[in-house]
């Protein structure tokens, strides 16, 4: 049953096929959510899939939102032991909760340059066979902006350099951002730029019909199929509902649940 539920999101992301080469290699995934529908469950599901025994992925998890114990607790319920993965050097955790740049603009940039350097060095320091299977996850971009004292230009520069890593090392970049933070802005440049950068856009939003007890929200997965090393795979859009439960997440097409 659980495998079947995973497949709807996995199918949309192309993860239901063979795990090597990793379908998300060299691709940028953006998860957008809002207050009513948090998208962190998508991030957790991707962590779990990336660390499955059949794949060789290494995750560099840059955490601005929560400490390691938070993710450990959640992933344990999903059937994944992050402590073991951390010890096996498959899950590398960057605790960025205390990153606070001083007021000067230059130091904000400096802080992000150092973070980029840390990521780059970590990738370069991996053994040869693992270097091609890196996934960088950032939770979440709005907090990176806070850490940079609102310097969204620096955040964009940082994201650009991370994007360059996907090209240089064929790694994947998965980020989370909150769409409603920027909804009052006339021109929400940061989130728009991120949408342009992304190859796959996963949007978690409430139903157009409002609240429901059996359905927590809907996911729209837009796979842009931008030119990838394997050639275009075509633009595809998937839409389905979900319900977040204690130990799993159920995904289903509208009206298919009894």
């Amino acid at each position: 049953m659980e495998n079947q539920n995973l497949n709807l999101l996995d199918r949309a992301l192309g993860l239901d096929g063979p795990s090597e080469p990793w379908p998300l290699s060299g691709r940028v995934v953006l998860i957008e959510d809002c207050v009513e529908t948090s998208g962190s469950f998508v991030l957790h599901q991707l962590v779990k899939r990336s660390l499955s025994p059949t794949s060789s992925n290494v995750i560099i998890f840059v955490a601005f939102a929560n400490p390691f114990s938070h993710y450990d607790r959640i992933l344990r319920k999903l059937g994944c032991n992050l402590v073991t993965q951390r010890d096996n050097k498959r899950f590398i955790f960057f605790d960025m909760l205390m990153l606070r740049c001083p007021d000067e603009g230059k130091s904000s940039e400096g802080g992000l340059v150092l973070l980029y350097e840390k990521i780059l060095k970590t990738i370069c320091g991996l053994p040869g066979d693992k270097k091609d299977y890196v996934t960088i996850m950032i939770d979440d971009i709005s907090l990176v902006e806070v850490a940079a004292n609102g310097g969204s230009d620096y955040v964009l520069d940082f994201l650009h350099y991370c994007h360059a890593l996907t090209s240089e090392f064929d790694c994947s970049l998965i980020t989370l951002n909150h769409e409603d933070i920027y909804s009052s802005m006339e021109r929400p440049t940061l989130i728009l730029q991120m949408e342009y950068l992304a190859d796959i856009l996963i949007k978690a939003e409430p139903l157009s019909t409002g609240l429901a007890t059996d359905v927590h929200g809907q996911l729209t997965v837009l796979n842009k199929g931008t030119s990838h090393r394997l050639g275009r795979s075509g633009n595809k859009i998937h839409n389905f509902h979900y319900k977040v439960k204690e130990n799993t997440v159920e995904y289903f097409y509208p009206g298919s649940r009894v």
Binding site: S167, L192, K203, T226
Partner: protein, 371 residues
Amino acid sequence: MADTICRTLRDGGLEGEHAPALTIKDSKASPFGFDVFNYVLTQLSNYILAGKSQSRGLVVVAYSRSPSFYVDLLKRRGIDIASSHDWIHILDCYTDPLGWKNWLIDKDISQEASSLSSFCQDVRNLDKLYSLIIEQGKGLIGQGKDRFSIAIDSVSEMVRHASISSVAGILSNLRSHDQVSSIFWLLHSDLHEIKFTSVLEYLSSMVASVEPFNQAAFGQRVDLENLSMLEQNFRKGKFHVRFKRRNGRVRVMCEEILVELAGIKFTPVLSEDEIINQRLLPKVQFNLQLSEEERNERAKVVLPFEHQGNGKPIQIYDGRRSLGENKEEALVSTGKLQPDEDSGKGQIIYFRDSDDEMPDSDEDPDDDLDI
């Protein structure tokens, strides 16, 4: 029409004239600008290689993709630049645009440039960038009167690091350089103020906009009704091009874009009827379309008098004039049919109670009631 753009870039500019400049602009609702850019890049490359264009070389200023991306792209289109690249050079503003790699303590991590591409590590300095572009271009074409073309893959990225006026300045200078044959760039219009987009449009001799196929679907929360429209928006789009002729005349053309596995395709716009039929008809199990015979029958139906629209003035018999007074009027109360209608279908026959009856007025007929 997209080919018209490519031909205009291929032909370049006359002596003493500014080089033709193309702005490709798109938005989040229809993000195919980069596909169009790649299409133009490939076409121009083919013309250069075949010796059919005014320019002998191409400088690609790469902000949003790595040089290897363009190598792969052109290779997939049958142009192998890895082995022979004396006609193309890629200025790499993507890998290290701000020189962050210079800040790194461990220099071993930095990359090396190749003969096909060179780094620009300070995209904030547009004067330096201008010199680099011209230097690379001249390096491709050598001494003499030959010219080269320039492609900038994201002016949106360029303006993030510099002011609007300096970006406008560099584009204008490149356009007016006597060794530049043609220039084109990509812009994401929703990232900027209208002022910036307008400035670039004024600088361009051609503006190609990519617009969503279904405008209404954009911006709404996804539901079953707009999902298919959204899906369509990510496979199709509209392509509007505005050409500014030398004589000052402006010409606007339109095409449709189809994004496929192999790349982007441009097709002529369908007629209005076909578009309406395609878009408005929901997918159901019964036939909502009319056959030819049904269409003819429908055309023969006589509509109620006020909708006949046969060109004659519509007169409503109000009961005050005699019937014989004006025979040319269309008097429905006589029950006469129009001479060109031959089927006796429904008609409204109204007989006034008497000729004394006043025509309908604003008075309330119940006014005489004593309530």
